[in-house]
């Protein structure tokens, strides 16, 4: 059985495996960093660490996320391509449920979208499709480098 955190992007449901989720927090006010892509919502101070936050709605469908009370930020334990471990925030809407799914329920779509390599297998619950998000394919190495070094320079750390 796999535990997944369910959320909405646009009008469709997606889910993220809870194994790399450190915490889910409210959608706090973020400090935007100029010159970064639109899906990079900004950074905030999490217990002394500067954490970058990605707008999943903007990243996936090109529209900004709607900030409601149910919109939250997932703090994930993210391993960068260079092996460094950090925390990455993902903001998405309607994040109020955790669902339990059997491993066998996942069906490979057979489609690997080049623009969205992070969209993984789909499963069904009550006639509704939910697509899982593959965390390690969410950000390309270039984007990782840019986002995490932006956060670091905000923190004045040596690269």
């Amino acid at each position: 059985m796999i535990l997944l955190l369910k959320f909405k992007i646009g009008d469709k449901y997606y889910a993220l495996n809870t194994e790399n989720i450190a915490e889910v927090i409210p959608a706090v006010s973020l400090r935007q960093i100029p010159g970064t892509p639109t899906f990079f919502s900004g950074i905030f101070d999490y217990r002394g660490l500067i954490v970058p936050v990605i707008d999943l709605t903007q990243l996936t469908i090109g529209q900004p996320v709607t900030i409601r009370l149910s919109t939250r930020i997932i703090l994930t334990n993210f391993t960068l391509v260079n092996g460094r471990k950090s925390i990455l925030g993902l903001m998405a809407e309607d994040m109020t449920d955790i669902i339990d799914v059997d491993e066998t329920a996942f069906q490979d779509t057979g489609i690997l979208s080049q623009n969205a390599p992070y969209l993984g297998p789909i499963f069904q619950i009550d006639n509704q499709f939910i697509q899982s998000i593959e965390l390690d394919r969410l950000l390309s190495p270039d984007i990782q480098k840019m986002i995490f070094s932006s956060s670091k320079s905000a923190n004045n750390e040596p690269n």
Binding site: P26, A27, S29, R47
Partner: protein
């Protein structure tokens, strides 16, 4: 497949629940003012691991001394029982044998052992409305002993760091066995060293 998400209704229809979800609109409303900035403040502070370093102690009274022992070595508290005296036992510390749930356990006088002076009951203010003499059954390293006490206060928790050293004026024997003093309500409780007590009992008396 019908596009369920487009369904217009008073309450949103979630396909995960066959019935409508009542109250889910509560979470779909916009954030209240300052919500985002308020949460920022609380997320800034380090999450400190709250491992309680406090020790749980049983507080009791013998004669006019209030004492405490770590609760992990307290096996049981029972009613006063008849103590069978052992033949040729001349020491005042060894009281005899008690029958506790069928088990015969060595019973000692903690008052004698700690050399606590006797005081008349009238001079002592009992903490509870009635006085209840009880037996404490203590177990340390598989050594089980029983000793009667005049009153049981109950359990309390203290931080070991808040222990103060015992006053100079206390009885010499108490100096050995008392680890420290801590206040409780209006009293000062002496925390006893249970391992030292058991070891000394084993060597000298048992």
């Amino acid at each position: 497949m019908p596009d369920i998400s487009q369904q217009q209704s008073e309450e949103p229809y979630d396909p995960f629940f066959k019935n409508k979800i009542y109250g889910s609109n509560l979470l779909n409303r916009p954030q209240p003012e300052n919500y985002g900035t308020e949460w920022l403040e609380s997320l800034k502070t380090q999450a400190t691991e709250d491992f309680p370093s406090g020790r749980s102690l049983l507080v009791f009274r013998i004669a006019n001394e209030w004492l405490a022992l770590p609760s992990h070595c307290i096996k049981e508290i029972t009613q006063s029982t008849y103590i069978h005296k052992l033949p040729h036992a001349t020491t005042s510390v060894l009281l005899g044998i008690s029958n506790v749930h069928g088990e015969l356990l060595v019973t000692i006088s903690m008052q004698s052992f700690l050399e606590l002076p006797d005081t008349s009951p009238a001079s002592i203010q009992p903490q509870k409305t009635c006085q209840f003499a009880r037996n404490i059954i203590m177990e340390v390293n598989k050594n089980i002993i029983v000793f009667p006490v005049n009153e049981i206060y109950g359990l309390t928790q203290i931080e070991l760091s808040s222990l103060e050293s015992p006053p100079i004026s206390i009885v010499k024997s108490m100096k050995n066995y008392c680890i420290g003093i801590f206040p409780l309500n209006d009293l000062f409780i002496g925390l006893l060293n249970e391992t030292l007590i058991i070891n000394t009992l084993n060597e000298k008396y048992l």
